[in-house]
Amino acid sequence: MKYILLMNTMKVGDDGMGKWPKKDQQAHIAYWNTLNKELAESGELVVVEGLAFPDQAKLVRARKDGTPATDGVFPESKEFLAGYWIVDVETPDRAYVIAARASAAPGPGGAPLNMPIEVRPVMMSMRPDELL
């Protein structure tokens, strides 16, 4: 069963680890690299993607004629998606274990950030070649 692990941590104006000491940034990056490598090696990783900072986000709605109307950043939003993993695991508990690993990524001073990670089952997957 596939699960998506959604990491909602960013806030508008957030520059991620920008203000952390360099060694804490390095430890943080190394932690992600290790986790991702382990998931690839266990044959559970389907995809991992990290998203640009929220300043790059645009809110799009269709105008009456169907053309896109874009809005800038939205300071009212408390949280933004920072990135996600899709893993293919045998039990939901395994997905929770992976999410807990992601949650415990080290922050400033090496203390675990304990970020909330939303875990949801993936209900459908499609690939372009299936639709052509």
Binding site: K2, G43, P121, M123, S125, M126
Partner: protein, 421 residues
């Protein structure tokens, strides 16, 4: 999932897939290294796909494949340790000394069953066992398996390499299990084949209700096991179950991939030939004595398949079969199906009473099937509001998109929001 084999005519493709485990067995016997032999045979199969359409199928395809795989094998092994190198050169001499056309046409020994037992060893995780079985015995490429499971190729490659690692670490010998462990190992083997079939028949997650390629592959592999173990009642049971279930494949989904329940299916679309074959297998298996869960599930599928119309279904017989199955397994899904059968025989209140006993079962508490069955039985009992509520709860819990759509539509139909009822 046959992209790599597109150039090959179906008969050659079939032959290649049939030969894959035999060739692998021969190469393992020669080189005593499962993991590398498996890679070498994959390369030989790919070479055949490229060369055969161009140069024609060789007179002795099995010998050709063994020859090519052995050559790849020595290439692989050459790059390894010195000890390995000495062994491989001895083996290479053995191959080159014999012209490949002279390699025996008939296998000395059919290694397919040995391979299946190895790939489905309980020491492997299920995901690894499934991937390795499809590649080493099914002759599918990593890309084809990845495509069938909708995951990246590297993910499947990693599962296969972990499976090989587990085999190596557990020291699983290349031989049939001993008689003491045979029953447990056969159960594990059949379980892997059953999971492959199920993945294809009811894609655990996906817009399509069924991925026929995987079900067909599971059927082909189960046929092979049956040919090698024709007297085993549970092997017969699984093959019959697959045939009798898969027979309804075309009727099971509508044009938009929507789920069509057994009662609503157009039975003219059912594959009569497959049903006849499944029923014949079951009838032949009965005198063989011991009855196992696969046989019972197949018998239930047969009762459904033999009803010309849904209302002709012999529910008392199905109920009796579920009573037997319940005694044999502690599977909560069996309890749920038993409740449905009881409702069909004794009325919905009997079924609802049985469901109440399942409410405390932790394995079902968050499972959509309990709500879906309850909704169905409440509808039978005339409790529309209760049925709508449970159809919607079931819809929110299911992990299958076609099933969610089906359950939401049942709720809509009964609540009258679509203005039809």
């Amino acid at each position: 999932m046959t992209n790599e084999l597109l150039n090959l005519d179906p008969r050659s493709e079939h032959m290649l897939r049939e030969l894959a485990p035999q060739v692998l067995g021969a190469v393992i016997r020669r080189f005593q290294d499962f993991a590398t032999a498996e890679d070498a045979v994959q390369e030989a199969l790919m070479a055949a796909v490229v060369q055969w359409p161009r140069e024609g199928v060789p007179d002795n395809p099995r010998g050709w494949l063994i020859h090519v795989a052995s050559r790849r094998m020595t290439d692989h092994v050459r790059t390894e340790m010195a000890r390995r190198r000495r062994e491989s050169e001895l083996a290479l001499e053995a191959v080159t000394a014999t012209e490949w056309t002279a390699i025996e046409t008939a296998p000395e020994e059919d290694d397919t069953l040995v391979l299946l037992f190895m790939c489905c060893h309980p020491a492997l995780t299920l995901a690894s066992a499934i991937a390795l079985t499809l590649r080493a015995v099914g002759g599918l490429t990593t890309a084809e398996i990845a495509h069938a499971f909708l995951v990246p190729e590297a993910t499947i490659a990693q599962r296969i390499s972990r499976a090989k690692q587990s085999i190596k670490e557990s020291g699983i010998p290349f031989q049939l299990p001993t008689s003491e462990e045979r029953a447990q190992r056969l159960r594990a083997l059949l379980h892997v084949l059953y999971l492959i079939f199920n993945e294809g028949y009811t894609s655990s997650a996906g817009p399509h209700l069924q991925r026929g390629d995987l079900s067909r592959e599971a059927m082909r592999l189960t046929r092979i096991v049956h040919a090698l173990q024709p007297d085993d009642a549970e092997v017969i049971g699984l093959l019959a179950l697959i045939l009798l279930t898969d027979a309804r494949r075309l009727a099971r989904a509508g044009t938009e991939g929507e789920l069509i329940t057994l009662a609503q299916q157009d039975r003219a679309l059912w594959d009569r030939q497959q049903i006849a074959e499944g029923v014949a297998l079951l009838s032949a298996a009965l005198p063989k004595g011991s009855i196992g869960p696969y046989q019972l599930q197949a018998a239930i599928a047969a009762v459904h398949d033999e009803a010309a119309r849904a209302e002709n279904t012999d529910w008392p017989q199905i109920l009796a079969l579920y009573e037997l199955l319940k005694r044999m397994s502690d599977n909560p899904m069996v309890m749920l199906n038993h409740a449905i059968a009881a409702a069909m025989v004794h009325g919905p209140s009997k079924g609802l009473e049985l469901l109440r006993a399942l409410d405390s079962d932790a394995r079902l508490s968050n499972h959509h099937r309990l709500d879906a069955v309850r909704a169905h039985l409440l509808e039978m009992a005339g409790d529309c509001d209760g049925a709508v509520k449970h159809y919607r709860t079931a819809a929110s819990k299911t992990l299958s998109l076609p099933e969610r759509n089906y359950l939401l539509m049942q709720g809509a139909r009964l609540s009258g929001v679509d203005g039809q009822e």
